[in-house]
Symmetry: C2
Subunit: 372 residues, 2 copies
């Protein structure tokens, strides 16, 4: 059974059930009807993992011990993210697609089967809980050898519509507290499938970074009556030296206190809490900005850069007036052949040491000549 929904920017969504009961959603620009059937044998779903409290730091850790068997750098002809073809049945039943989002086959977090609530944290006595949440995979393009930076503006616009749709739908689940779309790119950071794709994690708990951002924003608001992130953007605009790209609706800058050799924050100039709140104008001008930023990143050393591109959004039901949507892109590459590793100070103490001035990396990113 195919269910169709019409979204913004002329994008329609076909949802279908996969052989093992998971859902796949096709995001299309030509109002296609998607009816290809998943011909693979039925596979039983892994059971839900567990959440354990690290009481020393008061942080939840998700344990998903079934994931060790997940697919690891398969050859191109066995890629599970390419469309299904004569060479193999993939995760995508159809012979072609534009953008798809489907439930992860090896999810770290899963929807709970019963009524679920997060235990109150209270030290080593805190009980375990099922690792509730949702993990989805987002395929940006059917073409195996492409990268996000090589998409057309139209394709990026469709990906954005898919992210917005998933944020809206996942936010409506009562066990979901935070929705996090992201992309890991590059073998250097452990990517196990080379096909251009991202992921979405919907957490049932507040991730530590979100919690810490909320704490800082709350404190700042109490002291000044102002929104912290808006003041940070205002400061970057005043300082100017770290801005690397700007259009009518978006700004991209290397933050004043960057943690990585290349770190870029991209923010809408009209601040919003999450992707669903973006205006149509902001959405329509996002592809130009996203492509410029990623092309500048790949241009710095003339090699594809490993990066993590992370959408920070306000949590679903709290801090909506205090936290702002922004896209954070970080790369561990310091130079061709040199990576920044998180060793003792960063990993064990959380204390970041940076070898490069943010003004210097902003300069390198600005100097890249783009093929427009």
């Amino acid at each position: 059974m195919t269910r169709i929904k019409v979204l913004g920017a002329g994008v329609s969504r076909n949802s279908q059930e996969m052989a093992d009961g998971r859902t796949i959603r096709y995001y299309d620009t030509q109002s296609q009807i998607r009816s290809a059937i998943d011909e693979r044998p039925h596979e039983s779903q892994p059971s839900i993992g567990e959440l354990r409290l690290d009481s020393l730091l008061n942080e939840w850790i998700a344990l998903a011990s079934h994931r060790q068997s997940r697919t690891f750098l398969p050859p191109k002809e066995l890629c599970p993210l390419c469309p299904t073809s004569k060479s193999g049945l993939s995760e995508i039943p159809d012979a072609d697609y534009e953008v798809v989002v489907f439930d992860n086959r090896f999810p770290s977090l899963r929807p709970p089967e019963d009524v679920w609530s997060l235990p109150e944290t209270r030290g080593p006595e805190t009980p375990k809980a099922p690792a509730a949440g949702v993990c989805e995979v987002v395929c940006f393009t059917p073409h195996h050898g492409q990268s996000f930076a090589e998409l057309t503006p139209r394709q990026v616009r469709t990906v954005l519509e898919a992210w917005r749709d998933r944020t809206a739908e996942l936010s409506s689940l009562d066990f979901v507290r935070q929705v996090f779309p992201f992309e890991n790119r590059g073998e250097e950071i452990g990517v196990t499938l080379m096909h251009p794709h991202g992921q979405i994690y919907a957490y049932s708990y507040l991730p530590p970074k979100t919690e810490k951002m909320m704490l800082a924003a709350t404190r700042y608001f109490k002291n000044t009556g102002r929104i912290l992130f808006d003041e940070i953007v205002a400061r970057e605009i005043r300082d100017e030296v770290r801005i690397i790209a700007q259009n009518e609706h978006w700004i991209a800058f290397v933050p004043f206190a960057a943690r990585y050799p290349f770190e870029i924050h991209v923010a809408p100039l009209s601040p919003v809490a999450d992707l669903t709140e973006l205006s149509m104008q902001a959405c329509d001008s996002f592809p130009e900005m996203a492509l410029e930023v990623l092309q500048r990143l790949d241009g710095v050393f003339g090699i594809p850069m490993a990066y993590i591109a992370a959408w920070h959004q306000a949590p679903v039901r709290e801090g909506r007036d205090l936290l702002r949507l922004h896209w954070q892109i970080t790369s561990v590459r310091r130079a061709p052949g040199k990576l920044k590793y998180l060793a003792g100070s960063e990993s064990a103490m959380g204390a970041f040491i940076m070898d490069m001035l943010p003004e210097q990396s902003a300069g390198q990113l600005r100097e890249v000549v783009l093929n427009k």
Copy 2:
């Protein structure tokens, strides 16, 4: 000029000035006099870096832009951590040593030249500050090809005495807030010098992890009147399944909510705030425990494991009754040929996903047969 100090366990310390004004300290067990002169040409010291506040998370970042030029995987005959010999003048002027600690040639943090205080954090308006602190290098052995796990118990005892001495002395500096001895081991985590060595960072600010541990311990104490870390150890002793080694004065366990495929916490059974407070009995039984733990780690896959070994201590002047000394060893190796990478969820959100149950890795560590 050589200055000599007598420490515990028959260890004496010779301090000497290096050619560029840095200090080197020899820790010896035979009351040697060390008088070899650093024959290298004088080299000017890099200037102090800067601390910038990442106001989004309210965390200090240390910028040390001179460090990009530091020594990167030199061949054995040019190793700066071997004793000085015919093949070259190294960081250690003498032709032999047991354990040495010297000021880092490429320090991320340096003692401030003027009166110094940490600015109050107040959002994007927070001023920069000089990156005050101290960075030292600890050489565990003169033998280039050894590892910590291959030291004799006597050598480990001398290293411990050096760590204790440095903690005491660095704690007395008015700009130092936290002393952190650690070892990064393995090229996989970015180690640039293969000679067995560790480092000591003395921070002028509270590192984010220490701050978070303090928050959790304070909250727990307010709610229960008990010390969080002591309750965590009590719980591990009760549960038993994650203990991997124990003697009269120390216990080693995989924590209930481990973040890494192999993570071991080692704690004294009589809790103390930092290394200087350990009893002589606890000090004397540490080498046996340390060697067993590191040998178990190397034994799991029969290959030298990359790891970070981090001494968490109470800060110098706060939380001394709430935080406890423990040694945290983490390894990113999941299997031979497979590493755990910190990607989107861990890096951008701080939300750790673990593929392996702590009980499982504790079992693997216990099963290792040691060559005693």
